[in-house]
Symmetry: C2
Amino acid sequence: MPSTLASIAELNCPLPYPAENAVLLGHGSGGKLSAELLNDVFLPALSNPALARLDDQAVVNVNQQRIAFTTDSFVVKPLFFPGGNIGSLAVHGTINDLAVGGATPLFLSAAFIVEEGYPIEDLRRIVLSMHEAAAAAGVQVVTGDTKVVERGKGDGVFITTTGIGIMPEGVEMCSDRARPGDKILLSGSIGDHGIAILAKREGIEFESAVESDSAALHTLTAAIVSCGSGVRCMRDPTRGGLSSALNEIATRSGVSMEIDERAIPVCEEVSGACELLGLDPLYVANEGKLIAIVEAESADKVLEAMRKHPLGAQAVVIGTVNSGSPSLVTMRTTLGTTRIVDMLSGDQLPRIC
Amino acid sequence: MPSTLASIAELNCPLPYPAENAVLLGHGSGGKLSAELLNDVFLPALSNPALARLDDQAVVNVNQQRIAFTTDSFVVKPLFFPGGNIGSLAVHGTINDLAVGGATPLFLSAAFIVEEGYPIEDLRRIVLSMHEAAAAAGVQVVTGDTKVVERGKGDGVFITTTGIGIMPEGVEMCSDRARPGDKILLSGSIGDHGIAILAKREGIEFESAVESDSAALHTLTAAIVSCGSGVRCMRDPTRGGLSSALNEIATRSGVSMEIDERAIPVCEEVSGACELLGLDPLYVANEGKLIAIVEAESADKVLEAMRKHPLGAQAVVIGTVNSGSPSLVTMRTTLGTTRIVDMLSGDQLPRIC
């Protein structure tokens, strides 16, 4: 455990290069620095309407067919962890990025960057996990690529998965559609993935094991989508956690949000680990949870649909969208006070996915 | 130059781990070891009809629409080289993998794995090059992702691009369609990209600079496809060079091939550098060339169409498909002898793309 605390403390240490001109670990956190890099480097150069939506997936038109398209690189460390490995995670993650946009995932590609010397047997286990995760979800990995880099120029295996899916007719999901009065729904407990990774990485043991929640959410999202047009948008709160996902939607929609700490499920072990390590579960990554912003009249119906699904059995309403200061997310704490829930700044847990 | 020769010689040195159980640089070469890894690890686990075609792209059905889908990771070193950089290369490479399947490229995704400390200004240049290459080719980068890994766990920037395109009605291209009597067409000189990278990496200077031939081939392939059904298949001979591309087609189609060394264009500087370094231009990577297998009656028409295009001005017939020993590729040399042209074994030039 000392090494964890040390590595967290190190984030405040001076860097061996001018930080303002260099890419930092925090630029990959999914929080404030990631947003800055996107706004400073990627959007000005690549800007186009599909990219500018800033959702987890693009929706493009191919001969009058609305196709959802998304990509993610996975650099999780360690490669094998309780509840999964980089292979299953890379399949679930990309399926989920399609699913939360309302799309039906169909096909995946997988590109591997392998470090010279990596055991072929471990690579085989990873690829088998990808197959199992894809088959269980009813999608196919149809194309791929493998590159090898010298020892010390990579870190075992990196995987980039890209997914295509189809947008059902009439379904419109976008993070700019939250409106005052909407309810904020969360499908289950937060922080499991991040704490499982951290525990494995640092050799921390719990009384009962914390497992990653890594799972494919597309049948849960299909159940939500089938509740009708009252569903404004969905997000899977991965890197940057629940707080970053809510802040992104609040900013894009120009609304404020208030959530209730008592309503947010956190497993006992996760809660304990967070307290011990000085982490806030609102910022810890999830890989099998989603939030849905739903107009008030549809909230009960959507909640019921979610609870009928094994991955949404613990679903709850955690807050409300308001018309106050645009992009402000606040939380009523268990103590009855109100605090601001900002985006993650820096990187609390690097390489979590 | 000594370091080049040394690094080539080192490939024969003992490795610090049991080579038969570990991923080697050669597994990323696009040659024999790549094929072994594909057959041993990826195909058994992931096997499905789209993947089993073993072309540079998958063709999948989305609501009766034939969509081409392809992915490639780029780990080229150095990141900037004469004639391009990793950004333009990542756009061209994926456009070309769609194009040689006969598809019209439409949209790209781009996923970045950046090493902590990499200069933001250089990242900006790379992203701008991607935009310029994409805009020039009429495709859009519509979705992306950025991850950051610690210093010493990556190497500057790795980029994975994935492309989707549309297959024109009636177009069928597959590497199993070569037939005895077909002609083998090559769009221009070989070896430019590999030698440009190697020269930059090793600080070798030529009288006139060798530039990478990196270019988007989709308008050239469209001109070829428009010649009709006599076009059996196309390939862009990247990693593993011309020899590996021909061997793949010969194996998949169960045919032999004979090419003529005198017909294969090689620039003077490339030829000189290869001689000096003990490299064979048949194994050196290209990023803006293609081969087309065409039935004999259509060869003149296709050749004419290629020569009208700036990227095919030097197009030539380099050989013939025969019915002899399946998968055997031979070459009549300038000396009048015949030699076997095998797939690349090992890795003559790692991290060329």
